[in-house]
Amino acid sequence: MNINLTLFGQMVTFAIFVWFCMKFVWPVIIGAMEERQLKIAEGLDAADRSVRDLEAAQDKVANQMKEAKQEASGIVDQAHKRANQIVDEAKVLAVAEGVRLKVAAEAEIEQEINRAKEELRSAVAGLALAGAEKILEASIDDKANRVLIDKLAAQL
């Protein structure tokens, strides 16, 4: 076991290598590693955030779907209601029209009856006159007879 100059040689060498490592090796590697660590952390954060965003978007979509469905069913209900209303209105209108038509028809019938009565009356008057003429033959004053006959006709 000889202690000699090698001791100091090793000390100097040691110092040089430590200096080299401190200057050119350690900061570079550790810097790159820390930077990467940061990057990875950011990436993970971003991934988390996007998952949360996705969930929020899905929630939103579901909500909107629900709203749309509700709206649609509302519209359908309303349409049903409106259709019923229209049908009811149409019924009322139809009844009114029916009544009006009936009244008009009745009026016409009355008119027809009246007219027929008139015709019948004049026809009866003519007939009676002709009968009387035949009975009385020519002696009778036509004018005086006519008044009598019209009186008769009015009594019918």
Binding site: N4, Q10, T13
Partner: protein, 356 residues
């Protein structure tokens, strides 16, 4: 490699524990050269041949192998981490960068756990200590004979490839940490540091000498415990690798046939050649089996036979033990690097805190 001869066993161990030293031989030193003894006329800076010359150099010497491996591994650390730093992006990291960031994050966590002051130097210091010491310890897992043998072939006599088994290296780092401790103690606490040394643990002026003594011992124990713990653990681990390697070699020497021939005709130095022959033959048998020329049963029998001839049962046991110890040692080298780092952080944290 060494056989059963106790002298060569000792030599083997000593050879493994001898650093490659460059230093100043003092004037008047008797040097052994090829042409006989030579007395040096003046101080000479030279590469030491052997332990005695290394010892004679005293303080003015440097362990070329320890320094070389230590600086080389330090440069490797700086290069790899600098490359990662240049490529660091805030995007998705990949491959090597991932691994580096894992280490950096681990160190950062350890520092944040035990250091609460504000100091930009502690974390890079901890990173340097952990990775560098780990790399130095890791050299222990290379086969003990591999690099020294290769270096021997290249003409270099000694080679200790694990810098952390050299107390100079571990104490050098521990003293570096110690200097930082003192610096921050004074910078952060100012006179509070003097007060801490003199008025702890007995808060009375009469106890100042006792306090000073106790606190100084406590302070000085820190770098020593730091450096010597690492050194002791790594030295012991290396020692066990060497001992297992010797068993392996001894196993080869006790081979039934070749071992005997070896001892009779060739002496100790041919263990390597002998093993190469056995190894080649085993490889050949396996190759023939792969080519379908002999059956698997025969292959196993032939391999076992060859290994028995070569004393391979012992050798195989040695190899397995080497392997087992290496696996266990992976834990030790990591743990030691970690302990050195954590203690450094704790010591510096103490230097930053007013009351403890």
């Amino acid at each position: 490699m060494a056989g059963e001869n106790p002298a060569s066993t000792t030599e083997y161990i000593q050879h493994h524990l001898q650093n490659l030293v460059y230093g100043k031989l003092p004037a008047g030193f008797e040097r052994e050269t090829e042409s006989g003894m030579e007395v040096l006329g003046a101080d000479t800076w030279t590469m030491a041949h052997g332990a005695s010359e290394a010892a004679a150099m005293g303080f003015w010497a440097i362990h070329v192998d320890s320094m070389g491996w230590s600086i080389g591994l330090g440069v490797l650390f700086c290069w790899v981490f600098r490359r990662a730093a240049v490529r660091a992006t805030t995007g998705v990291p990949s491959g090597m960068l991932n691994f580096i960031e894992m280490i950096v994050e681990f160190i950062d966590g350890s520092v944040k756990d035990s250091f609460h002051g504000r100091n930009k130097m502690v974390a890079p210091l901890a990173l340097t200590i952990f990775v560098w010491i780990f790399l130095m310890n890791l050299m222990d897992l290379l086969p003990v004979d591999l690099v020294p043998k290769l270096m021997g072939l290249a003409g270099v006599g000694y080679q200790k490839i694990v810098p952390s088994t050299d107390p100079n290296i571990t104490m050098g780092m521990a003293l570096g940490v110690f200097v930082l401790m003192i610096y921050y103690n004074i910078k952060i606490k100012g006179t509070g540091f003097v007060k801490e040394l003199t008025m702890h643990p007995f808060n009375h002026w009469a106890f100042i000498p006792i306090n000073l003594f106790m606190e100084l011992v406590g302070l000085l124990a820190k770098p020593f415990s730091l450096g010597l713990r690492l050194f002791g653990n790594m030295y012991a681990g290396e020692m066990i690798f060497i001992l297992i390697a010797m068993m392996f070699a001894a196993g080869a020497g006790t081979g039934l046939v070749f071992g005997g021939l070896n001892a009779q005709f060739f002496g100790e130095d041919t263990d390597g050649v002998f093993w190469l022959v056995i190894f080649t033959m085993v490889c050949g048998v396996c190759w023939m089996n792969l080519k379908g020329k002999i059956s698997t049963g025969k292959t196993v029998l032939l391999t076992l036979g060859l290994l028995t001839i070569g004393g391979g049962v012992f050798a195989l046991g040695g190899g397995l033990m080497q392997w087992g110890w290496a696996i266990f040692h992976i834990l030790v080298i990591t743990l030691q690097a970690f302990i050195f780092m954590v203690l450094t952080i704790v010591y510096l944290s103490m230097a930053h805190e007013e009351d403890h």
